[in-house]
């Protein structure tokens, strides 16, 4: 299956991140609490939290995912797709 | 003993009124026939008339018609007058009630309350 996140995109993103991390060394940043003044704090925080969030959400889904007609056949989630360009969507 | 006697005899009019009142109310409650209910109602009202009238009696008083004699003791005429009015009200009530009973009889073919309720419930559950 075709994906939009091609190697090129990955490399581009990686490069930007590399540059940003480099700037952290070159310019440095200040922090309010000490821990956030550490080098690469924001880089690591962003990456780790994102991954953790996704895994936590996937675990959550195991618990709470139900079929669309769980709340009844007439619930809004179980309604069939609307006719495109209908006014009352 | 005397006291008990006084309680009964001294208030004889009240006792009569109360008994009559109870009979009237009982008829109104217990009888399913609409006309009999009205009779009960009449008894009930009449008992009240008697309460008023007996109330107006003054010991040793005469009928409240001016005699011209200075020492005459009159019974109190006011309750009597009031009761005249109340009697008129009572008659109107009875007349209206009887008229209604006639109409009910035309509409339902019966004047027994339980039969009428039966018919009405059938209508109610159908509609």
């Amino acid at each position: 299956m075709k994906t939009y996140i091609t190697n090129k995109v990955l490399i581009a993103l990686g490069t930007i991140c590399f540059v940003l991390a480099g700037l952290d060394i070159a310019i440095g940043h200040h922090g309010s609490f000490g821990i956030d003044a550490l080098p690469f704090f924001y880089c690591l925080f962003g990456f780790v939290i994102y991954v953790a969030l996704i895994f936590a959400a996937k675990a959550l889904r195991r618990l709470i995912l139900r079929p669309e007609d769980y709340y009844g056949r007439n619930a809004i989630d179980a309604e069939p797709a609307q006719r495109p360009e209908a006014d009352n969507v | 003993m005397d006291a008990a006697f006084a309680l009964i005899a001294g208030h004889a009019n009240y006792w009569l009124v109360v008994i009559l009142m109870m009979i009237g109310l009982y008829v109104a409650i217990a009888r399913g026939n609409l006309v009999k209910k009205i009779v009960g109602l009449n008894l009930f009202q009449t008992s009240v008339f008697m309460l008023y009238i007996s109330m107006g009696k003054v010991e040793g008083g005469t009928a409240p018609i001016l005699t011209g004699l200075p020492a005459t003791v009159y019974s109190n005429p006011l309750p009597h007058v009031l009761i005249l009015t109340a009697i008129v009200v009572g008659i109107s009530t009875t007349a209206l009630a009887l008229a209604l009973v006639v109409r009910i009889r035309e509409a339902y073919g019966t004047i027994e309350e339980d039969e009428i309720l039966e018919i009405e419930r059938d209508v109610g559950s159908k509609s």
């Binding site: - | 009240v48 309460l51 109330m55 109190n76 009530t93 009630a97 509409a107 339902y108």
Partner: protein, 501 residues
């Protein structure tokens, strides 16, 4: 000349409709009856409004019937409270008569119209009389005039449904017992005091102190009036009577008859008994308050499940009377204000709602709720009036209903009766439920296919909207009602010497 006429206003208030009634009965054929009745009610309203304006400053007009001075002669006594009720009764009569023309033409047989309007005028005479008189026995007579003509008016619904007859009969039996109880109580008071003038009674009763006869008299009078005002569980006559009466009559009686009874209760409780006895407080606190609360909930539930619009409105009346009784039972200035304002609110809103029911009856031929599906499409103005008047019944802000509930809740809270306050607020949800149920049916449901109903005639729409407009107008500009209510409450409490004041 004019001045002389002005002095006769109190008696004119009664005599005009009383004299007009036989005229209507005799010459009222071909629609003339309606004309005369309507004109009379308009004049009566003008008289009531003039009286109201005169006593607005708190003064009292005392009129001696036939020139006989009270306490022997009969006195008509107008103060701000009963002038307010007079305005309500005569105003509602006029507007209901305006409405009645089209509605009665459809619901009552042509040959009976003259008698119908004559009876209507008599009923109005009775209600006005109860309100204006200062004599307790006279009050009974007027009460019976209004009740008897009321039974006849209700039975006029027999053309549509014969159950109107049994409803009228039941009401008659109950009403007569109630009135007789009232007379018994009055007799006992007369035995004690030898007077029947209310002001005089009040003055003498304070001198007599407590006695068994007094208490017994109070109990009889209280039960008698409670029956007339349909206090739960003495309400059993009301649902059928209001359901099967012609719509104009339902509208008229629901707006006036029970209100006048509430007024009579206020008069007796506060003016005559003067309210200095613990036993009255007992009765109010231990009987009226709980029964009123039960009434609100039970009657609201019945209204929620009702299948017929008029029956729903009738049960809702029983619930609304509960609010007025709570206001009385709280025995405070704010509570009485709530009662008086609610009196007005309910008169106006319920009259409008019954008029809407009548319009539906006229155009759709039924008031059965399932049959009214989608009727808002065909009768938008009537339906909109229902929603607005319904909101006033619920007590939504910007309607009169909110103001009376506000005072009621305040009154309950100042006495730390917060469960009562809470129940009052909760019960509004029930009211909302049954109003909403109708709104949903008439607006959201598909109309039955092929059914087309035209909008109600203007002669019915205008009265409906007058009432609806009033309940909105006085909800926003609450000055007049709350001022009148406040002064009325003052007058009532001032007449009595509440022991905790």
């Amino acid at each position: 000349m004019l001045q002389a006429l002005l002095h006769q206003l109190p008696v004119l208030q009664i005599v005009l409709p009383l004299v007009a009634a036989p005229i209507v009965a005799a010459f009222g054929g071909n629609g003339r009856g309606w004309m005369i009745a309507f004109a009379t009610s308009l004049i009566a309203f003008a008289v009531a409004a003039t009286l109201f304006a005169e006593v607005l400053d708190g003064s009292v007009i005392s009129y001696h019937l036939g020139g006989w001075a009270p306490p022997i002669g009969i006195e008509y006594r107008v103060d701000i409270l009963n002038a307010f009720v007079l305005v309500i009764v005569s105003g509602v009569s006029a507007i209901c008569l305006l409405y009645a023309r089209a509605s009665i033409a459809a619901e009552v047989e042509e040959k009976n119209h003259a008698f119908f309007y004559a009876t209507f005028l008599l009923c109005m005479t009775g209600l006005l009389g109860v309100t204006i008189t200062g004599d307790a026995f006279n009050l009974f007579v007027f009460l019976e005039i209004s009740s008897l003509s009321g039974y006849a008016l209700i039975s006029a619904g027999a053309k549509r449904d014969r159950r109107a007859l049994t409803a009228a009969y039941n009401y008659l039996v109950m009403g007569t017992i109630g009135a007789t109880f009232f007379v018994i109580g009055l007799g006992l008071l007369y035995m004690l005091t030898g007077t029947l003038n209310m002001a005089d009674l009040a003055a003498r009763l304070t001198g007599y102190g407590d006695s068994r006869t007094l208490r017994m008299g109070f109990a009889f009078i209280f039960v008698g009036i409670a029956l007339k005002l349909a206090m739960f569980p003495l309400h059993l006559w009301l649902p059928n009577a209001y359901t099967f009466a012609p719509s104009a009559v339902s509208s008229f009686l629901s707006a006036t008859a029970t209100k006048v009874a509430v007024y009579a209760l206020l008069r007796i409780l506060f003016t005559v008994f003067g309210f200095d006895s613990a036993f009255e407080a007992n009765v109010l606190r231990l009987i009226v308050l709980p029964l009123a609360i039960v009434a609100i909930f039970v009657a609201s539930f019945v209204a929620i499940f009702a299948e017929d619009l008029k029956r729903m409105l009738a049960w809702s009346s029983i619930a609304q009377i509960g609010y007025m009784l709570i206001g009385i039972a709280l025995l405070s200035h704010e509570g009485l204000m709530a009662t008086v304002i609610h009196l007005f609110n309910h008169a106006v809103a319920k009259a409008a709602l019954f008029m809407v029911a009548g319009a539906f009856m006229l155009r759709a031929g039924t008031t059965s709720i399932p049959d009214l599906r989608g009727i808002a499409r065909d009768m938008p103005w009537t339906s909109a009036a229902f929603v607005l008047a319904g909101l006033s019944l619920v007590g939504v802000p910007l309607t009169v209903g909110f103001i009376s509930k506000w005072y009621l809740v305040q009154a309950a809270l100042t006495q730390n009766l917060w469960p009562v306050a809470l129940l009052v607020v909760l019960s509004s949800l029930l009211t909302l439920t049954y109003v909403w149920r109708i709104t949903e049916t008439i607006y959201m449901r598909e109309a039955p296919a092929g059914v087309r109903r035209s909008e109600a005639p203007l002669s019915m729409l205008i009265p409906t909207w007058i009432f609806t407009g009033l309940s909105l107008y006085f909800g926003i500009d609450a000055g007049l009602t709350s001022m009148a209510a406040s002064r009325a409450a003052n007058a009532l409490l001032g007449a009595s010497n509440l022991f905790w004041q």
